[in-house]
Symmetry: C2
Subunit: 353 residues, 2 copies
């Protein structure tokens, strides 16, 4: 019997609701010899508003001792003046990604059966975005001079290192070489961001030499948004920087029929710290507490977690259960409104089966 | 009789082809008392490859003496190793935008009659993006340490000044207040890019006080891509930074049925230098020289030019001619393949009428 020490951060809004369903599915999906031992951490907007704490050092140290992290969503009500801009994002979410060196931010996109894409003819969409998670414009580097005056100057510095780019590019190539189509598209803006662009281009070319079976392609980020709406089936693996990845994965979620189904893994492939799995969607305070949030993205994040931990069969079972659940729903032709826990139960039952 | 001294930069690929049609329409659309005096400048990839020159100072000085600039598109064949990354973009296109202080990069989006959107149900789309044109990550600020080594560090610095942000925000509010819906959406990523985000938020709020009739809204850039695919009719005026504007306007062009119809103005509202009008699309070397490029976006850019120069009736006539041309085509139900000059002729004939 081995144990899976899991740090669970439900967060705010619908975060805790979807996380509980994901845990429910994890319990039944985990191999018999794996004992899931969740420890819940109360972090997010609520905690900050109540205590002023975002992520105390002691809590981070504890979380670090786990095998994996399951996160729901963090974020208060839009426009809540008591929450300084970015305090939770930078103090909690990004802090975890950076401190735990989650350099691979993995976001698969596919159109699930019965899900309606806003595109008239999306085609056969099945790609994965490998978003760099620890560099780019997300480092917090930058500052403000003469704040609040007519002479204010604010900078944001995008940091790109050969070390940081090469490791995520290598991971993306490895993933591409394991997929049937073996295609990798670098998305950047090398014609404008020439310094960062040069590092990305150089390292994609260098690593490509080690993966001769992978076809390599390049798109500027603006052009990539066009192809994502006009021909998304052309993509297989996209590798891109932190900010472009943020934008492209929300667009990818939209064209595949919704952020409600998009899962993500914040992965430390070197396993020097626990990886973190979370739905792409936010805390959706407008529908919180009503038991109507769709937990599917959180459940699919559990599949990514199991895969990362080496339990690929269990991971596949969760994914298959979600697919079967959607397919049955689609075949029934009914527009059933299921509650959060009904969806969790339905998927858990399939996995247990 | 007044004269309109027009600098014409056809550029590369399909650029010169579409520019000639735009000129053709301008000739017939210009008010009787306005004499169009085009001067052609040979700039772009071809010129660079032949002479090593991108934008000689003397040429820039000459261009500066004009009333307006009409640009086709610049850019060589993808992957042409003789063209260093960004040399034309930064040495010519962005250089013109920066030197001539084109701080308002204006990009309207609407679905023209008969044009097929990739969205199943786009709704009634009619918005305009006011993209900042002289700051953000486009300044070329940044650099490289230990280039080409495993220890390479590359930076890109986004510069945001109160001066630069306020003037474009003010322009966007003024445009919003002249439109029927009077709605303005700031798009940024204030939760991550907190320094730049603070300037943008502060100045949108400050200028909003002067435009009490304009409704103000905010979206993170990632969420904005979702709404552009699921509910684009919610937008009226979007104001955003240089890079986000680049990405959003290509996406906007895609969802409205194509980059082939997207016009843009690089505007200096203070009129201290000529403004520049260009289609959003690129030089499309793959279809160049065949006379099959659609010149409509270049022609619509002429409409933006006429409007900027104060000839609003002529501007409206060009736009109306394009709409009528598309409507007739759609009504005919035929999938006619018209040549570049046939489209130019058809629209010019309508304007002359
Ligand atoms: C909340 C925010 C900081 C975050 C990001 O920008 O990475 C989110 O949008 C995401 O994509 O996970
Ligand atoms: C060619 C490139 C420099 C340019 C930009 O990024 O602004 C283009 O994409 C545009 O949108 O006009």
């Amino acid at each position: 019997m081995t144990s899976l020490k899991l740090a669970v951060i439900g967060g705010d809004g619908i975060g805790p609701e979807v996380t509980e369903e994901a845990l429910k599915v994890l319990e039944v999906a985990a191999p018999a010899e794996l004992k899931v031992e969740p420890t819940r951490y109360d972090l997010g907007a609520e905690r900050y508003l109540a205590t002023g704490e975002v992520l105390p050092d002691a809590v981070l140290a504890e979380i670090r001792e786990h095998d994996a992290i399951l996160l729901g969503a963090v974020g208060g009500k839009p426009g809540d003046a008591r929450l300084p801009a970015g305090i939770l994002e930078r103090g909690l979410l990004l802090k975890l990604r950076f401190e735990l060196d989650h350099y691979v931010n993995l976001r698969p996109s596919r159109i699930f059966p019965g899900v309606v894409s806003p595109l008239a003819a999306p085609g056969d969409v099945d790609f994965v975005v490998v978003r760099e998670g620890t560099e780019g414009p997300y480092t917090g580097n930058g500052g403000t001079l003469r704040a609040g005056t007519p002479h204010e100057v604010a900078t944001e510095v995008s940091l790109n290192t050969a070390h940081g780019v090469e490791r995520v590019v290598r991971d993306a190539f490895a993933r591409a070489s394991r997929r049937p189509r073996r295609k990798l598209t670098l998305v950047h803006k090398t014609n404008v961001l020439v310094h960062a662009g040069a590092v990305w281009s150089r390292l994609v070319n260098a690593v490509a030499a080690e993966f001769p079976d992978v076809t390599v392609d390049y798109l500027h980020v603006d052009a990539a948004t066009i192809f994502l709406t006009t021909d998304p089936s052309r993509f297989d693996v996209i590798v891109t920087d932190n900010l472009f990845g943020d934008i492209l994965t929300d667009l990818a979620a939209a064209i595949t029929g919704g952020i409600g189904l998009a899962a993500s893994g914040n992965i430390n492939p070197d396993r020097t710290a626990p990886s973190m799995f979370e739905p792409v969607h936010g805390s959706a305070p407008d529908i919180a507490g009503q038991g109507i949030a769709d937990p599917t993205a959180a459940i699919l994040s559990v599949s990514l977690m199991l895969d990362h931990l080496g339990h690929s069969q269990a991971a596949a079972a969760v994914e298959a259960a979600v697919l079967a659940d959607r397919a049955e729903l689609a075949a029934s032709g009914r527009d059933v409104r299921r509650s959060t826990s009904e969806i969790g139960d339905a998927i858990a039952a399939r996995v247990a089966h």
